[in-house]
Amino acid sequence: MQHTATAAGQRPPRPGETVHGGCNCGAVRFEGVLSGRGIGVCHCRTCRRQASGPWLALRLTSGVRLSREDGLTWWRSSDTARRGFCGRCGAKLFFAPDGAGESDWAVSAGALDADPRTEIFEHIFVDAAPDYYGFTDTAPRRTTQDLGA
């Protein structure tokens, strides 16, 4: 079972609309209401080691509603958060801070079936980013110190 991202002709979803997403093999599927906040980019070493490069994430105001979760696997990446991925195809899906609301997880932007019409609203942990790449947008750049982390 394959789910191709952004099927030709599919209208980009807008904030407030229900979006669907999942991994490459289909063993994790979810849906939720797209937040208007946009995409946050994380440059921390943990994200970049796990995901090969910076992680692009967004939020669902409804939280994440899982419609299929037999592939969902969690790994505790720190004292304060877990990361969810598909244990069958390896797709990186969720970041779940401890104490966040039930299923109020950050979601991989790439996991959505259709790319939303949205923009980057912030970059975080930019002090951990190597200098070999840069983004063109002008969203705020926040350091570890700014984040109080």
């Binding site: 490459n24 994430a57 069958r88 390896g90 990186k92 932007a109 190597p130």
Partner: protein
């Protein structure tokens, strides 16, 4: 000034560790939908030939056949995405795009190519000038190598 990149790397939990025969000097980004689902962001990869890598730990390494001609390697414990690898028969079989972020040090790497640029969502873009290839450009290159 170019500092040599390291030849060692691995996943977050250490279940997958490797050593490269040669220190990499550059990496590329892939914007295709499958890479973006796999990594959650953009795939940053280093080209490694089949005999260019030695696995020093691989207990938690699993592969997923993501198409008829390629597979993707991941750590089943921590969800890191170490590689995409060409499985189709031909002169390029076994060629790997190794996840740049898994290297223990990224000093000295240059960002020299973006592929599947026509699949990139409008929401983000990388600054700077470099070679940018569409899906058709990539297919033409792979086809040319296969003849």
């Amino acid at each position: 000034m170019t500092m040599a990149a390291t030849t060692t790397g691995g996943c977050l939990c250490g279940g997958v560790r490797y050593r490269l025969a040669t220190a990499p000097t550059s990496f590329g980004a892939c914007h295709c939908g499958m890479c973006r689902r796999f990594t959650g962001g953009v795939e940053f990869g280093i080209q490694v030939p089949p005999d260019g890598i030695t696995w020093e730990a691989e207990d938690s390494l699993r592969t997923y056949g993501s198409s008829a001609w390629a597979e993707r390697g991941f750590c089943c414990t921590c969800g890191s995405n170490p590689f995409w690898r060409l499985t189709a028969a031909g002169p390029m079989q076994g060629l790997m795009s190794l996840a740049a972020g898994t290297l223990d040090s990224l000093e000295g790497l240059t960002f020299d190519v973006e592929v599947y640029i026509d699949h990139k969502p409008a929401a983000y873009a990388f600054a700077g000038e470099r070679k940018r290839m569409t899906e058709a450009d990539v297919m033409a290159m792979v086809g040319a190598a296969g003849r």
